[in-house]
């Protein structure tokens, strides 16, 4: 990639290294990917921390995300305004949390946000129905969707309020054997 002196200062790269799971090279590569999404808007020189945000449409068309049924939710969960517009900081943050080195607890927090469609900090039945429909592309019948959602709540809800709070979700994820291996994006 380019000469690192012109994109980030050493101080910035150190900060990124401490705050994410990426190395210097990977951060520079990420910057390259961010730049490619919109070469007219994204500056090459990030030394003064410009406040440039890319709209959601550009991000969800990235090859790593385009086939993901939850791409809008992922981008929205990491954006500051909740609308899906990502700055470079958010961009790096997103891929850092989704990388394979992030620990389970951190991923669980963000997974909860992603699956919480109405952002009320509970995964209620309607959130589950939306998740299920996105996963199966709405090819399950309504009765089956109902059954599955009920089963999920039955399995995971510990305090009996009919919806999943973060504690329930985290407890369930800690027992789900596949979570760590499937909940990661390679970039």
């Amino acid at each position: 990639m380019g000469n690192k002196q012109t994109i980030f200062t050493d101080e910035q790269l150190d900060a990124y290294q401490d705050c994410t799971f990426f190395t210097r090279k990977e951060i520079l590569r990420l910057h390259g990917r961010f730049y490619e999404l919109a070469p007219n808007i994204v500056p090459m020189d990030y030394t003064d921390d410009p406040d440039v945000k890319l709209p959601m449409q550009l991000i969800i068309n990235m090859p790593e995300l385009v086939e993901n049924p939850f791409k809008e939710r992922i981008v929205q969960s990491f954006s500051e305004d909740g609308e899906g517009n990502l700055s470079f900081n958010d961009f790096v943050d997103m891929f850092s949390v989704m990388s394979e080195m992030a620990p389970r607890e951190l991923k669980a927090i963000y997974a909860f946000k992603i699956y919480d469609f109405n952002t009320d900090n509970f995964i209620c039945k309607s959130d589950l129905e939306k998740t299920l429909n996105k996963l199966t592309r709405e090819e399950l019948e309504e009765e089956e969707v109902n059954l599955v959602c009920e089963k999920v709540i039955e399995e995971a809800d510990m305090d009996g309020d009919g919806k999943l709070a973060f504690a329930d979700f985290e407890n369930m994820i800690s027992k789900a054997p596949d979570f760590l291996s499937t909940f990661h994006i390679r970039i």
Binding site: E80, A102, E144, P177
Partner: protein
């Protein structure tokens, strides 16, 4: 950084439960207060908010930052506890936005200036150590074999199939390391000393004139060219007396200047250490999956939660694979719901029906046992026939028919390994198990067939080697007429199995999978389309390579360079399987989960390894070493060299070793390990009970909470 929505304390209700500053659940006066609004004020909710508020998720962090902010201008000595608290969790693992993390980091740096000398040095050395470790990890990551390839496969086919290829890579590396060990400690000294670089003494057999020492492998002189090819395939002829087989190693000691290197001792010790290294490495790899599978009941989590929340593989980047994944998830959920209906139907099963099902299962199991017995008998007959009728000593081994006879055991084993899974799959459908259990049960049966067929082969070999007519065995302890150098013979059998296994994999890929793909693409007859494209069956493929690896482990004592052949074989197989996967296969509709895959692979490999240790141990310690070739002509068994060497140790050490190896040490040690095991089992049981109690308590607390909030709302409404 603002301190968030702090509620005015003046509006506290007098008869409410007390709370410390952070547990305010009250609202400002005048506003309507439905239950849900109360719920939103709870600290557990607030801690999840990411941005505008600055609740960091733990009370310690909140206190520490407040401490920091308040005391920036104050006494430096108060900073130590704060910075130590913040160092317990690395910044990158905090669920904060990048901006906040960077601000935290700046604050950390600021307060690090106030830390006293010792803590500063500790912190900076810890930081630089961490950075160094990360740089090293990054460097080694680039050296990982086939990283890009496996990445691509995972993206297209999912992590389940990707884990198969990682497993293959692990086997390549394991075999390479074993090869390096064997080579450096046995082959290299022999090769160097045969060149005359060091003084070495050859083995002088003590029974020099006995019949047992007569051994002359054929294959020298003028031969037809194609006999060389046949020799290459069967390990006889010119290959027999090479570094490849045990019989060639005849040097007794090599003298490196003052140091006497005893080759027989090294040979035995290196074999044992290769096996121990394999065990240690496999167990280490299996430990993670082991913990999960052991603690949690798998059946419960094969279902809904795991599928919904961890079902979509976020690595998928390919449109075709994505649509396949969608269909497979749909299929899985539908199957699960169907299974649920079956389960409910089963509960309603009458006693007559249950009895009928069990009787049916009993019958089918008898059929399965019959099939197994049949295939084992076939393998036994084939081995006996091959050993009797293949001529390895005379010059007629240039005959291709002879080659076929020599390969007969391998052929029969391969046929059994291909046919029996198909039989089992069709039988298990009638046994009326749940689909998940069906898959597992069929797999267990297939594993049994694979590993037991090797066992049958070895048993037939053993009976031939140690049984002789007319009491000729008493002279040398084994059948010296047929097998003057029986270790090389066993090595040859393993070599043949390995080569044949490799050839079969290549042949199946080239001559079955490719034509199948071509037929399905270009020929649209109904039968062909129903047969369909090849599915990449992970379990069968894994069993294939575990079978090959088990052969390698068994053969390691008799053919020291076998790991090298295994390395090359698996290296080539990686590329063949990869090409076959991409060109011919469609992903399986019955997905195989990544997590249980890793654990499953390691467990099967471990079973294979344990099974391989038995014949090796038997061969080293029980069967008399051959007197005609090899390193142990002057010992009764190969193991005997160890006691001989131990006798040359100083007295104290000798006594110590004898005590450790005696029963008076082994029995108490065994009892102690049993005690420790029982303790841990009891501990696990106690923990489980505690977890259950805590779960009940949690449900109760939640009901209390809702009750209190409801009462609060009522009181609030009344007051308003």
């Amino acid at each position: 950084m603002d301190s968030g929505q702090r509620l005015p304390m003046a509006h506290r209700f007098p008869d409410s439960p007390s709370s410390d500053g952070d547990n305010d659940v009250f609202l400002p006066d005048g506003s309507p207060a439905p239950v849900s609004e109360f719920l939103q004020e709870l600290p557990s909710y607030q801690s999840l908010l990411r941005r505008k508020t600055s609740y960091y998720g733990t009370i310690e962090r909140r206190r520490s930052t407040r401490q920091l902010k308040g005391s920036l201008s104050v006494d430096p000595s108060t900073f130590e506890p704060a910075s130590e608290v913040m160092m317990t969790k690395p910044l990158r693992e905090c669920a904060l936005s990048m901006q906040e993390k960077r601000k935290l980091r700046d604050m950390q740096k600021l307060c690090s200036q106030y830390i006293t000398g010792w803590s500063q040095w500790k912190q900076s050395s810890w930081n630089s150590c961490r950075k160094f470790k990360e740089d090293m990890a990054e460097f080694f990551c680039h050296l990982t074999l086939w990283r890009g390839n496996i990445h691509n496969i995972e993206g297209k086919f999912g992590t389940g199939i990707g884990s198969y290829f990682s497993f293959l890579r692990f086997l390549v590396i394991l075999n390479f390391v074993m090869f390096l060990l064997m080579f450096c400690f046995t082959t290299l000294p022999v090769a160097i000393s045969k060149q005359g670089a060091f003084n070495s003494s050859n083995i002088i057999p003590s029974l020099a004139d006995s019949e047992c020492t007569y051994y002359s492998p054929g294959g020298y002189g003028l031969l037809y060219f194609y006999s060389n090819i046949i020799d290459l395939l069967s390990g006889t002829g010119f290959l027999e007396l090479t570094y490849l087989f045990y019989g060639y190693y005849t040097i007794e000691t090599v003298t490196f200047y003052v140091f006497n290197y005893s080759l027989p001792l090294a040979y035995v010790l290196v074999t044992i250490s290769c096996l121990l290294l394999s065990i240690a490495w496999i167990v280490k790899r299996a430990v993670n999956g082991f913990k999960q599978s052991l603690v949690h009941d798998e059946d419960k989590f094969q279902s809904y939660c795991n599928k919904i929340f961890a079902g979509w593989d976020f690595c998928i980047t390919d449109q075709y694979s994505a649509s396949l994944k969608h269909s497979s998830l749909q299929y899985e959920l539908k199957t699960d719901l169907a299974e649920e209906r079956i389960r409910q139907r089963k509960q309603k099963r009458t006693r007559g029906e249950t009895f009928r099902i069990y009787f049916f299962r009993f019958l089918l199991n008898i059929i399965v046992i019959g099939v197994l017995a049949g295939s084992f008998y076939a393998i036994y007959r084939a081995t006996v026939y091959s050993l009797e009728n293949s001529n390895t000593v005379s010059g007629s081994n240039a005959d291709p028919i002879n080659l076929l006879v020599e390969y007969l055991p391998s052929i029969v084993i391969t046929i059994a390994n291909i046919v029996t899974p198909l039989i089992f799959e069709s039988i298990v459908r009638y046994e009326d198990y749940s689909p998940a259990f069906e898959i597992r049960f069929t797999l267990i049966r297939c594993v049994f067939v694979r590993l037991a067929s090797i066992a049958v082969l070895l048993i037939s070999l053993w009976t031939r080697i140690t049984s002789c007519q007319n009491q000729t065995c008493n002279l040398c302890g084994y059948n010296y007429k047929m097998y003057p150098c029986w270790e090389s013979r066993v090595g040859q059998e393993m070599y043949k199995l390995m080569i044949f296994d490799f050839l079969i994999i290549v042949a199946l890929t080239l001559f079955v999978e490719f034509p199948r793909k071509l037929m399905v693409t270009y020929w649209s007859s109904k039968l062909v389309q129903w047969w369909g494209q090849q599915e990449f069956e992970i379990p069968q493929n894994v069993l294939e390579i575990v079978y090959g690896q088990t052969i390698c482990w068994i053969g390691i004592f008799y053919s020291p360079l076998l790991p090298a052949i295994a390395t090359v074989k698996y290296f080539i197989i990686f590329y063949i399987k990869k090409v076959s996967l991409i060109e011919n296969c469609r992903p399986s509709t019955r997905p195989f989960r990544a997590s249980s895959s890793n654990f499953f692979f390691q467990v099967i490999l471990l079973i294979g390894l344990v099974l391989a240790c038995i014949p090796v141990g038997f061969g080293i310690a029980y069967i008399p070493a051959s007197k005609a070739c090899g390193l142990f002509v002057n010992f009764t068994t190969s193991w005997e060299i160890i006691p001989t060497v131990v006798k040359t140790f100083p007295n104290g050490l000798q006594k110590f070793i004898y005590v450790i190896a005696s029963e008076s040490f082994a029995v108490p040690f065994f009892l102690l390990s049993c005690l420790v095991m029982f303790y841990f089992i009891a501990l696990a049981g106690a923990h489980k009970k505690v977890v259950e109690q805590l779960q009940e308590q949690l449900a109760m607390e939640s009901r209390d909470k809702l009750f209190l909030i409801r009462r609060l709302t009522e009181v609030h409404h009344i007051k308003v």
